[in-house]
């Protein structure tokens, strides 16, 4: 194999080493190629298809992460057609992705209080930190209470009494005065949908969340590292045109080990965690109903670090900071 290979990319000849996957080579050459499930040199795991480029000779779209460059290849990496197909693949993934990126309460708060994080800390008993996040804003007189109207718990039984909780924190003089700059969420980013709760799901929610606030903690704890969200935001997607008809259970949190948690409803079935663990995660079934699961007996074989390979918030580390 020659050490230097010439390929045509977007009608320009570039030189590459030819030793790595097309995706790696293109990135090395300074091109920006989006991808979710690429696994470095491990080819043949192509799943998300977001990294597709056009092979101008065959007219086919090929996943660049699973392609070995060939001398004389002619590739297009950016065109309206490619952007459209990448967008379709993202929308298809999002139509089977049941999650709230941000909690609706935080999104609607006119004062910009990170409501979900305040309530999360409150539930952990960390009231001082919670109060600090409110940042001295007083909403105990708020009459419209958009946070409570938007609250997911409202569609299960009754909304969380957010205003009372925040009021309790502000007026608790035993806590130090909060001076933490309260940062709210970036509202320009994409927000996923969860669709309607089924009746059994409502029952499960009631049992699963019985802590003082009754909050469902619907905000995704892996949203900061979520590449699906980043790419959807970049592509300007507001909602999937294919609707949402997922069979996945919302907020079914499975403790793997240590700080590692798994939420199947956010999984895009790319199988990165399956390929990178030995007798750990595995696929179940096939077709649209295919799932990634972690058998009980295999949990001990998993290392916390695996969370980093997950392109969504399906695998995440639960920490105080991640809330």
């Amino acid at each position: 194999m020659p050490s230097i290979m010439k390929i045509s990319v977007n009608h320009q000849i570039i030189e590459i080493s030819g030793q790595r996957t097309l995706l790696e080579e293109l990135r090395q050459a300074g091109l920006e190629i989006p991808s979710l499930c690429s696994d470095g040199e491990n080819m043949h795991h192509a799943s998300c298809m977001v990294c597709m480029v056009k092979d101008c000779q065959s007219g086919q779209m090929i996943p660049s992460c699973a392609t070995r460059p060939r001398e004389g290849m002619e590739i297009e990496t950016d065109s309206e057609e490619i952007r459209r197909l990448r967008r379709i693949s993202l929308e298809l993934l999002l139509s089977d992705h049941r999650a709230d990126c941000e909690a609706p309460c935080t999104l609607v708060c006119p004062q910009g209080i990170p409501v979900d994080r305040v309530v999360y800390l409150y539930d952990l008993g960390l009231k001082a930190q919670a109060k600090a996040l409110v940042g001295g804003k007083d909403c105990s007189q708020c009459t419209k209470m958009p946070c409570q109207k938007a609250c997911r718990r409202g569609s299960v039984d009754k909304s969380v009494r957010i205003r009372d909780i925040i009021g309790e924190l502000i007026h608790d003089t035993s806590l130090p005065q909060g001076d933490h700059p309260a940062e709210s969420c970036d509202k320009t980013l994409f927000n996923s949908r969860i669709g309607r709760f089924t009746e059994p799901e409502k029952e499960r929610m009631k049992q699963q969340y019985s802590q003082p606030s009754r909050c469902l903690h619907c905000a995704c704890q892996g949203r900061d590292k979520c590449r699906l969200r980043q790419l959807a935001s970049q592509a300007g997607i507001k909602a999937s045109r294919y609707g949402l008809s997922s069979q996945l259970p919302f907020k079914q949190e499975i403790h793997v080990n240590g700080r590692l948690w798994f939420e199947p409803a956010k999984c895009i079935r790319c199988g990165q965690c399956v390929h990178r663990t030995n007798n750990g995660f595995t696929f179940l079934g096939r077709g649209f109903g295919m799932q990634v699961i972690i058998p009980e007996q295999n949990k001990a074989n998993i290392d916390e670090q695996i969370a980093a390979c997950c392109p969504t918030g399906a695998l995440y580390l639960k920490t105080e900071e991640s809330c």
Binding site: M43, H44, A46, S47, C48, M49, V50, M52, Q60, M61, I62, P63, A66, T67, R68, R84, L85, I88, S89, L92, L93, S95, D96, R241, Y242, G243, S245, I268, R269, G271, V274, T277, N278, N279, G280, F281, T282, F283, L284, G285, R286, G287, F288, G289, M290, I293, P295, Q297, N298
Partner: protein, 802 residues
């Protein structure tokens, strides 16, 4: 059930027994990761499902771990995680069965057996029921398999009879008595004993022949022969006399057998002759059965439709149809089999390949890649460890060519495979056959043993330098494994996930070595080419596609079956001449070719000569060769929905476009077929279909939208009608209801046949149909002698109350 051995005194002892049996299986099969599928198959065969204790034992004793096991066992449909009932009813949901009402048959069985909605097994554990993609008996549609027995033309109102017949046969099964007679045979009676022939009564005819011979003292050879292909004309027997004359009797009944035998053969003794004469005459006077006996029909009248069926066909893959015993290796050799293998063993590899290249043979599995080029590619690799694989994982609903070829001509396929191995320099060959074809598996296994005994494969074949080892691998039920790279993954003991090509299997295939994968039919053409020469072969066909093609003709055609025609025959010729036109006097609407990867060709384009390129241009593909004929009473949107439903269940799940995309297309089609679709849905459907075609990972994914794209192209008006809430054909059950017209005289025939009691028993009054109870099975339409019951669209009907 199978666990009678382990009815030990304590659960612990039972567990011990189970582990001992599991150990025996592991010792027999092996412990490597690659044996996962054969191991699971053996465990299931032993216990009839996969008990968790047995699997735990597998984790302990083999390299197969839990993650691999779960991933593999849940990928393939063959494996069962829960115990099933004593007998398994498999309702075929192939294309041909679908258009003839397989769903209604399935519901009827469930109703008849009283299976609870959330279960698949009867309360007494006697029966379990499941739908399966295709039994490959499309000419018998709708077909149902109970254990290993197939029942054809099952009507929803008659499932009780099917079950009764099955129970009766099960009870009778033990009494198989044989009386050996010493005289030399007076002649030969030939009958097709393929899975599908047996289903349509050939088994009973055979019993009748045996019984009649015993009673009459006639000594004939009963010879099971390869398939004639005329599935609508069975049970069919040929009576061959020592003088070489053959008389053919199609569609005979068991009670006619006796008379036919008497016509050709003399009973043993004078006394018997006399006694028979008397009985015969007495029977003759008392019944009128003699008058419509096949024996008394004119030769021409008797065999006209079958002659039309056979006319215009040409036999290469199916040479020797109807007269060769599939497992008689001496007969095969006598007819020129393996002769060419001897020649090939002496030839240089390049010369063999040159012949194949020159013949213009193209792969019959679907894509139509030139076979010779593929052989060259493999032979040209530097890596000398090479494999050949015969792809017999025919999963397309509506196709059964490979099954018949494997059941009827296993020796020819094996010869083709050995030749391929010698040509490309491979020392190991694998026949990959889907487990849904038990008869094919049994015959090929037996044929392999016979060839081995004769030295046609093994070390130094017939004393030459070539060594080829062959083995059989049973596919475990996954449509996607027809795709080369997925097939390889499954032989390696993995889920059938395809990979991006290149590298092609010819470069890096099984275990990373060059691998030649050819379809069953492709290989069965190989011996002919080498025997008669490339030139002679290339004389048949069209410029782009040479030779013949085997098709499975099924659907609404009068005479379905397995046919082999020269490339370039038009679809109309196939449907009209060979198939005898559309049944029930309806008009041809379209022909569906290529199964879920193919498309629908409208009647007006059916005059195009069939070859790979012409079909591609029409938006369909040759595929493996299933032809499902659709009539005016078939709804094209429903056909598209049917295929997408199939694909979204069979998609391997690896890439987004196929896994989620196919499901989203199905969502839209389900909205359309329930009358909720919009015009925007049509646009979204088309955009998605084009996207999947361009960007799915493997060949199956890329072709998955073809049924939608081809129907959108040729039958867009039907989609538009569905947006308006109209299904002209009544196929989309959610959009229609049954109604009774004024032609009804109140004969109560419909009320009596209705399985859902939706028609009150009101003699001499126009019947009413309770639409809440009605399951739309359509049985009443067939029963009504006055043509007074019709489907009508809900949205159009004036008295629609909702």
């Amino acid at each position: 059930m199978a666990c009678e051995h382990c009815q030990a005194s304590s659960p612990d002892q039972a567990r011990q027994a189970l582990i001992r049996r599991t150990d025996a299986i592991i010792d027999r099969i092996g412990t490597g990761r690659e044996v996962a599928i054969p191991l699971l198959q053996a465990i299931q065969e032993e216990f009839s499902w996969l008990p968790s204790d047995a699997l735990e034992r597998v984790y302990q004793r083999t390299e197969i771990d839990r993650a691999q096991m779960i991933s593999v066992a849940t990928f393939y449909t063959q494996f069962r995680m829960i115990p099933y009932g004593e007998h398994i009813i498999r309702v075929c949901c192939g294309t041909a069965c679908h258009v003839k009402g397989a769903d209604i048959v399935y519901d009827a069985f469930r109703r008849e057996l009283g299976i609870a909605p959330d279960s698949i097994t009867t309360a007494d554990q006697r029966y379990s029921i499941e739908k399966i993609p295709c039994l490959g008996c499309c000419a018998l549609a709708p077909a149902v398999q109970i254990d290993n027995r197939i029942f054809g033309h099952v009507q929803p109102g008659r499932v009780d009879q099917v079950l009764a017949e099955f129970e009766q046969q099960t009870a009778q099964q033990q009494e198989a008595s044989q009386t050996a007679l010493q005289q030399p045979p007076q002649g030969e009676v030939r009958l097709g004993m393929e899975n599908c022939c047996q289903a349509s009564g050939t088994a009973q005819v055979r019993e009748a022949v045996e019984q009649a011979c015993r009673e009459l003292g006639i000594r004939v050879d009963i010879k099971p022969v390869s398939c004639v292909g005329a599935c609508q004309q069975v049970p069919l027997i040929d009576v061959a006399m020592p003088d070489g004359s053959i008389t053919r009797y199609p569609k005979i009944r068991p009670e006619e057998v006796r008379e036919i035998l008497l016509h050709h053969f003399k009973p043993a003794s004078k006394l018997r002759q006399l006694r028979n004469k008397v009985y015969q005459q007495a029977g003759w006077l008392h019944t009128d059965q003699g008058w419509d006996n096949q024996l008394y029909m004119e030769e021409q009248q008797r065999t006209r439709s079958i002659n039309n069926f056979l006319e215009g066909q040409m036999r290469i893959s199916t040479e020797g149809y109807g007269l060769m015993n599939p497992l008689d290796i001496d007969e095969y050799v006598h007819r020129g089999g393996f002769e060419v293998l001897r020649k090939v063993l002496e030839m240089k590899s390049e010369d063999i390949i040159e012949e194949i290249v020159g013949s213009g043979l193209r792969g019959r599995g679907g894509g139509g890649f030139p076979t010779g080029r593929k052989w060259q590619l493999v032979a040209g690799q530097a890596d000398t460890q090479r494999y050949v694989i015969c792809n017999g994982d025919e999963g397309d609903p509506g196709a059964f060519m490979d099954r018949i070829l494997l059941e009827s001509y296993p020796l020819r396929v094996i010869e083709g495979l050995i030749i391929a191995a010698c040509a490309v320099g491979a020392e190991e060959g694998i026949l990959y056959i889907r487990a849904e074809y038990p008869q094919a598996v049994i015959r090929v296994r037996r044929a392999l043993e016979m060839c081995r005994e004769k030295g046609y494969w093994g070390e130094h074949i017939l004393g030459s330098r070539h060594c080829v080892r062959l083995r059989l691998f049973e596919g475990a039920g996954a449509f996607v494994c027809g795709e080369e790279t997925a097939l390889i993954a499954s032989i390696e003991g993995q889920r059938g996930f395809p990979r991006l090509r290149p590298p092609y299997p010819a470069q890096q295939g099984l275990w990373g070595h060059p691998t030649l994968i050819n379809n069953v039919e492709t290989l069965s053409q190989v011996p002919y080419i080498l025997r008669h020469g490339a030139e002679s072969y290339a004389r048949t066909g069209t410029p782009g596609s040479k030779g013949t093609k085997v098709f499975a003709l099924a659907g609404k055609v009068r005479h379905g079956g397995l046919i082999e025609v020269p490339m370039g025959t038009t679809l109309r010729q196939i449907v009209e001449q060979i198939g005898g036109g559309i049944e029930k006097g309806e008009k041809l609407k379209a022909v569906q070719t290529g199964g879920p990867s193919g498309g629908c060709i409208p009647a007006e384009l059916c005059d195009t000569p069939v070859d790979f390129d012409a079909l591609n241009q029409m938006g369909a593909i040759m595929g493996s060769g299933g032809l499902v004929v659709l009539s005016q009473s078939d709804c094209m949107v429903d056909v598209a929905r049917y295929f997408l439903n199939f694909i979204s269940g069979e998609s391997c799940g690896k890439c987004t476009f196929c896994r989620v995309g196919a499901r989203r297309m199905l969502d839209i089609l389900e909205r359309l077929t329930s009358g909720q679709g919009t015009l925007e849905d049509l646009d979204r459907l088309e955009e998605l279909a084009l996207g999947i075609r361009q960007a799915a990972l493997c060949g199956l994914g890329k072709t998955a939208p073809n049924p939608v794209l081809s129907t959108l192209r040729h039958f867009r008006h039907e989609y538009l009608e569905h947006v308006q809430g109209i299904c002209q054909t009544g196929s989309c059950k959610q959009m229609v209801q049954l109604s009774v017209t004024d032609d009804c005289i109140g004969c109560t025939k419909c009320a009596r046949c209705c399985p859902a009691d939706a028609i009150p028993f009101e003699p001499y009054r126009k019947h009413r149909i309770d639409t809440d109870k009605c399951t739309l099975c359509g049985l009443c339409i067939e029963e009504c002698d006055f043509n007074a019951i019709h489907y009508e669209n809900k949205r159009q009907s004036p008295d629609h109350r909702n």
